[in-house]
C-alpha cells in the first residue's frame, strides 16, 4: 500500500501522529523512520494491529507511543528509543535489544526480552513462555525486564546477565474456558504459579527477583534460591520506583512484599558434561 500523506499529522513541532489502520508493517515502519529522521521527538501511532518490527534497529532518541496490539518483534535490535505501548505486545518484544526502553501497558507474548543486551522492558501485565531467555549483560549494559503480573514457563532460561522481576501484582489469570469443576485428570500446577515451570533453568549470570515466594520444584537446577539480600535492596528499590512511575503505581506497595532471588549456581553450569 502506498504511503498516504494524510496519515501523518503534525500536532506539535516535534510530535507526529500516524494512523496505522490497515498499513503494512513495511510502510508503517518507513513512516516512523522518516519521522524520526526528520527530528520528531514523539511519534504517536494509532490503530496498531499486528504490525511487526516496530522500532526495529532504530537508533534515534525518539519516543514512540503505540495504541493497539503491536505485532511480533516489537523493538527488535532497537538501540536507544523509548516505546510506550498502550495495549498488548505479541511474541518477541525487545528481541535482541541493545538499549532503550519499552513500556507495555498490557501483556506481552512469548520470548519477551530474548537475548536482550541492554535497555529496559516494563510490562504492566503478564508475559508468555521463555521471557528474558538468554538475556545478557555486556560491559556497562545491564538489561532489565520487569513483569507486573506473572510469567510463563522457562523464564530466564540460560540467562547470562541482567535482571528480571516478576511482581505478581495481579493474580495469575486462570484460563477463562474449561473452568468450573476440575476433572480428575486435570494436570495440576501447569499454569497456577507466578513463574511457571523451569524458571531460571540453565542460568549462568544475572538475577531473577520474584516478589514473594518461589516453589523450588518449579525452578531449574542451575538456580540458587534465596531471599533478596540487603545488597540487592537498593537496586530493587531503584528499579521498582522507576517501574512504578511509568504506570502510576505505588512503589511502596510493590516493595512491601519481600523479594526472592534466583541467582546462578555457577558461570559454567555444564563444564563437567563433556569428555575429551
Amino acid at each position: 500500500m502506498p504511503v498516504e500523506a494524510p496519515r501523518k499529522r503534525q500536532a506539535a513541532a516535534n510530535e507526529i501522529t500516524i494512523d496505522a489502520e490497515g498499513l503494512h508493517y513495511r510502510d508503517l515502519n518507513e513512516l516512523i523512520h522518516q519521522a524520526a529522521a526528520q527530528g520528531a521527538r514523539v511519534i504517536d501511532v494509532r490503530n496498531v494491529n499486528g504490525q511487526r518490527y516496530i522500532g526495529a534497529g532504530l537508533r534515534l532518541p525518539v519516543t514512540i507511543r503505540l495504541h493497539g496490539t503491536a505485532g511480533n518483534d516489537l523493538g527488535v535490535f532497537m538501540d536507544g528509543p523509548t516505546i510506550e505501548l498502550f495495549g498488548n505486545a505479541q511474541d518477541g518484544a525487545a528481541n535482541t535489544m541493545n538499549s532503550g526502553r519499552i513500556i507495555i501497558h498490557g501483556d506481552a507474548g512469548q520470548i519477551c526480552g530474548l537475548s536482550m543486551r541492554g535497555g529496559r522492558v516494563y510490562v504492566r501485565g503478564s508475559v508468555g513462555y521463555r521471557s528474558g531467555i538468554h538475556m545478557k549483560g555486556y560491559q556497562d549494559k545491564v538489561p532489565v525486564v520487569v513483569i507486573g503480573g506473572h510469567a510463563g514457563s522457562f523464564l530466564g532460561e540460560y540467562m547470562a546477565g541482567g535482571r528480571i522481576y516478576v511482581l505478581g501484582l495481579d493474580a495469575p489469570a486462570a484460563c477463562p474456558l474449561g473452568g468450573g469443576k476440575e476433572p480428575v485428570w486435570r494436570v495440576p500446577e501447569r499454569c497456577r504459579s507466578l513463574t511457571g515451570r523451569y524458571t531460571g533453568t540453565g542460568m549462568h549470570g544475572g538475577a531473577i527477583y520474584v516478589r514473594g515466594q518461589v516453589d523450588p520444584a518449579l525452578c531449574g537446577r542451575e538456580a540458587v534460591i534465596s531471599p533478596a539480600t540487603d545488597d540487592d535492596l537498593p537496586v530493587i528499590r531503584r528499579d521498582m520506583e522507576d517501574y512504578a512511575r511509568c504506570f502510576g503505581l505505588d512503589a511502596g506497595y510493590i516493595l512491601s512484599v519481600p523479594f526472592t532471588r534466583l541467582a546462578p549456581k555457577s558461570h559454567r553450569p555444564y563444564g563437567k558434561n563433556y569428555a575429551y
Partner: protein, 378 residues
C-alpha cells in the same frame, strides 16, 4: 492435482477459529478477515476453512462428502466408488466464483450420503464410514474426499486463505463455528488436497507447526487401521483425536492432555491415584504423544479446541467477546475482527482451550465421550 505421497511436507502457518457458544450462525467474512490479518504467516500455497452448521435442515443428517478430482475420469471413478459404498441423497458442484488470485481449480463436487444399511449402534456406522473413506482415498488416484462430516464442510485450495474463502463464496454460508488456515509449506508446491483443514467425519484440524514425532505417531495409528495417505503431520493429529475421543472414549480435554502429556516429573508429583492414571495413560498412549512445535485448532460437532505443544513452541491466543470465542496464532488476528474482546489470554503449553455449544444450543460432548460420568475433584 498431484499428490506427493512419498515425502512429508513440513510447514509453518497461521490458524484461527471463531465460534459462537450459543450456536448463533454468522457468515464467513469474520474468519476471512481474521486470517487476512495474518497474511504474513502464509505464502499463498494453501488456505482453507472448516464451517460447522452450514447445511440446510433436510441435508443435516447426511454425511457431506466434499470431493476434489483432477480429471473427469477420476471424478467419475470416485463417484462410482461413492455410489458403491453409500446411498447418495443429493449431489451438486461446490459453488465457487472466479477469483483473480486463485489458479486453476480441480473439479469440486459434494455428495450428501447415508450409510447403505442401518447399523445397530452408531459406532458401527462411523467405523464403516471411516473405513470406506480411507479406502476410497487410498484407492482412487487423482481424487480425494476431503470433507466427510455431517452439517459441516471443509473448503480449501491453493492460494492465500482470504482468496480461497472468497473463491468458495464463504460469505454466503452461515456457521456457528469457523476455523481457517493459511499455509506456509516449505519444500513442495502446494496442491489443493494438501491445504488445511484436514477432516474426517466431523473432525477438522488446522495446524501450525510440525510434528517431529510424525512417524512414531503414524506407525502407532496404523496399528488401529488408519492409513496416512496424505503424508502430512496434520493427518496424524486428526486421527489421534478420532482414536482417543471417538473410539476410546476419552473426553476432549483428556484427549488433549494425552497428546501433550504431562512430564514424568509432573506425574511423579501428583497424588497417587492421579499419578497411577497418568502413568497408565502415558504408558498406553506413548505412541500418541505429539512432539515438536505445534498449535492446532480442532473443530468437532458442537465445539472447538485449541492446543499448543507442551513446551509452547508455537503461539496460540484465546479471546472471548460475548457469545464468541476466538482462538488464533496472533492476537492481532482476533482484534482485526473484534477490536475489544472482554478477555484475551495466551494459551499455556498443553492446556487446551475448549469452547462448546451451550446445552441449550444443542451442544454435547462429541461421540461416546459423555458416557463417562466424571466426578469432580474433591
Amino acid at each position: 492435482m498431484r499428490r506427493n505421497l512419498r515425502e512429508r511436507i513440513p510447514g509453518g502457518c497461521a490458524i484461527i477459529g471463531v465460534m459462537s457458544e450459543t450456536g448463533r450462525r454468522f457468515d464467513g467474512t469474520t474468519v476471512i478477515e481474521g486470517i487476512r490479518c495474518m497474511h504474513e504467516r502464509s505464502n499463498g500455497l494453501g488456505g482453507g476453512f472448516a464451517a460447522y452448521g452450514i447445511y440446510p435442515d433436510d441435508l443435516k443428517p447426511y454425511y457431506a462428502l466434499h470431493v476434489m478430482s483432477q480429471t473427469h475420469h477420476e471424478h467419475e471413478t470416485m463417484e462410482e466408488g461413492i455410489r458403491q459404498h453409500f446411498r447418495i441423497i443429493h449431489q451438486e458442484p461446490i459453488p465457487t466464483r472466479r477469483h483473480p488470485r486463485v489458479g486453476e481449480a480441480p473439479i469440486l463436487w459434494r455428495y450428501f450420503v447415508a450409510a447403505p444399511t442401518d447399523f445397530a449402534e452408531p459406532p458401527g456406522e462411523e467405523e464403516y464410514m471411516v473405513g470406506r473413506i480411507m479406502d476410497l482415498n487410498g484407492r482412487v488416484e487423482g481424487s480425494l474426499i476431503f470433507s466427510s462430516g455431517r452439517d459441516m464442510g471443509i473448503f480449501k485450495g491453493v492460494g492465500y486463505p482470504e482468496d480461497i474463502g472468497e473463491f468458495f463464496r464463504l460469505d454466503e454460508y452461515r456457521a456457528y463455528l469457523w476455523t481457517s488456515h493459511g499455509r506456509f509449506p516449505t519444500n513442495t508446491p502446494g496442491w489443493w488436497g494438501g491445504a488445511h483443514p484436514f477432516g474426517l467425519l466431523n473432525w477438522s484440524v488446522v495446524h501450525n507447526g510440525e510434528i517431529s514425532s510424525y512417524d512414531a505417531n503414524r506407525r502407532y495409528l496404523e496399528m488401529f487401521g488408519y492409513r496416512c495417505y496424505m503424508k502430512t503431520d496434520t493427518e496424524v493429529v486428526l486421527y489421534l483425536f478420532d482414536l482417543l475421543n471417538r473410539r476410546h472414549g476419552l473426553p476432549i480435554e483428556l484427549t488433549c492432555s494425552v497428546l501433550t502429556a504431562p512430564f514424568w516429573n509432573e506425574i511423579d508429583a501428583m497424588p497417587p491415584a492421579d499419578a497411577e492414571l497418568w502413568r497408565a495413560l502415558r504408558q498406553v498412549y506413548a505412541g500418541a504423544l505429539l512432539n515438536g512445535p505445534f498449535s492446532v485448532i480442532v473443530g468437532f460437532e458442537g465445539g472447538m479446541v485449541g492446543l499448543a505443544d507442551r513446551i509452547m513452541l508455537r503461539p496460540l491466543v484465546g479471546a472471548r467477546a460475548g457469545d464468541l470465542v476466538f482462538i488464533a496464532s496472533e492476537e492481532a488476528a482476533i482484534r482485526a475482527v473484534c477490536p475489544s474482546p472482554e478477555t484475551v489470554w495466551a494459551a499455556e503449553g498443553g492446556e487446551p482451550i475448549v469452547a462448546r455449544l451451550a446445552r441449550s444450543a444443542g451442544g454435547s460432548e462429541p461421540a461416546s465421550a459423555h458416557k463417562v460420568e466424571v466426578p469432580a475433584a474433591s
